[in-house]
Amino acid sequence: MRYVKALLFIGIVAGFLVPSVLCAQSAKFRIGCELPLTGVFGKDGNLVKDAYTFWADTINATGGINVKGKKYPVEIVFFDDKSDKAESAKLVERMATVEKVDLILGGFGSDSVFAATPISEKYKYPMISGGASSNKLFERGFKYYFSTLGKATEEVRGCVEIATILNPKPKTAAIIGADVLFSALACEGYRSYLKKAGIEEVYWELFPISLDDYNSMMFKVKAKNPDMVLVGSHLKVALSVMKSLKEVDFAPKLVAFSYGPTVPDFVKSLGKDAEYVVAAAEWAPNMPYKDAVFGTAKQLNDNYFKRFQRYPDYVEVASIGGALVQQWCIEKLGLVPPLKEADRVKLMEELHNGDWNTVYGRIKFGADGANVDHPPIAVQVQNGKLTTVFPKDAAEQPVMYPAKPWKERK
């Protein structure tokens, strides 16, 4: 009987202890992330997915997020919003209420993120995005939304300011762009910087993103014969514009895009037709950025290539930067999973207070959640590679300008 009692006691104690031990062993940060993995922004969304995966793999390789000497691995659960902003909002609601994830990583695309952030704000989930930067995202007084990118209107500054180092200086410019939040605002940005640069705007048009045939519009642009064509774009728009420019046989002296050409598929798809193209960027591997987790910008670039057989786009590095500063805040605050609402409030406050130097560059969020410090970089496709050409002190090569007419290109 005595043995039976002893065994019963051991059983009860074990019954209480074993789950807690297992629980402690399996404690991890469960992180939700909804992205456009299919649809019109499918390619861009998959890039951001790769970026978050790269961050998670790097952290997990060291054991996980280090909280007071103890390592907690991270697990990211991805959801596909199908490039549909209504779906984005639904998925964030699901992550907060059904999946009850510890953290949420920011999505891609201003329209999607614009729809999703009221939900993350409601449930007090900090959301840092490296792929959404429309000004309107920062004009709502939200406390839980952050962006490692600069505001869309400022992101294209380098594409216009590059005119200051060109000879002969461009005198006229046409602005065209897809009529969605990010690219429309990028066009507004072009417009304001053109005014400052004293370059005449001779054409302006926003078109639906569903537009298939760009030729009619491009013939109108060609009729104005601008020195520069500035495009508010995502990847598909950028590819379509380049195809159309060639079809209508118009080679402006400089053509620049707000987004698209930095995605590796752009050069891969267009081959030599991508030469001379300029694009806005917020990061380049030759920039003097570094941190303790990813090393220098060049090391990150090389390691990324080893992992995915391609180099990262700046949006991917901006996404990594966001995930990284969130990780540092958790470590600093000593937060352990499962995170409660009070923990997420502290996290939000810490994100507002912090100032970090990362492999993506300096990250310091303003009161509105936008990254306050980001240099206006412009890159150009030269011999099939993206080359930093602006600002002058960061340039790897001088800008190839003016672009040759299509018929003279080999």
């Binding site: 390619k43 537009l211 009619s216 195809k243």
Partner: protein
């Protein structure tokens, strides 16, 4: 003036593209009364066939067109034989659901196989054109335009003159009588679907040389094909050419003189007007039931 002529030419060439990928839709509707919602996926598969031939084996897109024609034709034939034949005489809603299901399966299968990447076929002559005075004519679009005319005319002749073409017409006009006369209706339907799909695959292969292609590109093409066919007359083969050209020109003029946003809207405005005012299409030969 030159901008106006350029807009007309651009519209005409775009109309050729519309006609090229809408005639198969019209044929299938005309014979089987099926609104094929996975029509756009047939275009997508045709485009990807050309793309893969070009990127994997470096085969010129125009030389790869037979692959697009055959692969999409075979897919069309099999899907018809296995699925559509079972619902071809059911109420229209059943065939909508069936073809919508195939649309979902094909687009998601393509997504799984080929990822969401945007792809383009860029050859040494991509985007190359020639000038007639101040007017620029892109060669690939001109070729599409000429092929659209040839396809429509060829299809018309085939249905009018060839023995099997007459069997198709007989099946579309009175299937019970055709059955009594010994025509194998199921075979006619499957071959018609295969033929319509093959023409669509050809169009997909052609447009891959100047449009961006991706697995989920299909549905917008189905919508445009529907508009083109309603405009020209549902089931009336030359109507696809007329509807395509009319839509192309109207869109181009709208984009040139108003804006590109309205050029997209004009498609649906036109569809609305035609369905109310002239449901048989602009020449009044379409099927209305």
């Amino acid at each position: 003036m030159s901008l106006f002529v350029q807009a007309l030419v651009t519209g005409l060439l775009m109309g050729g593209v519309y006609a090229a990928y809408s005639s198969g839709f019209s044929l299938i509707f005309g014979v089987m009364n099926i609104v094929n919602i996975f029509h756009g996926e047939l275009i997508m598969i045709g485009a990807f066939s050309t793309y893969w031939m070009f990127s994997l084996y470096n085969i010129d897109p125009f030389l790869a067109l037979p692959v697009s024609i055959v692969s999409v034709g075979v897919i069309g034939y099999i899907v018809q034989r296995v699925l559509i034949n079972r619902v071809v005489e059911a109420p229209p809603m059943i065939s909508y659901l069936c073809t919508f299901g195939v649309h979902l399966i094909l687009s998601n299968l393509a997504l799984l196989l080929w990822s969401a990447d945007f792809r383009t076929v860029t050859t040494s002559y991509s985007g190359v054109g020639f000038g007639v005075g101040p007017i620029t004519i892109p060669i690939a679009r001109l070729v599409t335009f000429l092929i659209a005319i040839a396809t429509t005319y060829g299809l018309y002749l085939f249905l009018e003159k060839a023995r099997f073409g007459k069997a198709i017409r007989a099946a579309s006009q009175d299937k019970e009588m055709a059955r009594l006369l010994g025509i194998d209706i199921k075979k006619v339907y499957a071959l018609t679907f295969g033929l319509g799909a093959a023409i669509t695959g050809l169009a997909g292969g052609l447009l891959s040389t100047y449009f961006v292609i991706y697995p989920q590109m299909g549905l917008p093409y189905t919508i445009i094909a529907f508009c083109v066919v309603v405009l020209g007359g549902m089931g009336y083969i030359p109507g696809a050419l007329l509807g395509g050209l009319l839509l192309g020109i109207l869109q181009s003029l709208t984009a040139t003189y108003l804006n590109s946003g309205l050029s997209v809207a004009i498609t649906f405005i036109l569809l609305f007007i035609i369905l109310i005012a002239k449901p048989q299409g602009i020449v009044g030969k379409g099927i209305v039931e």
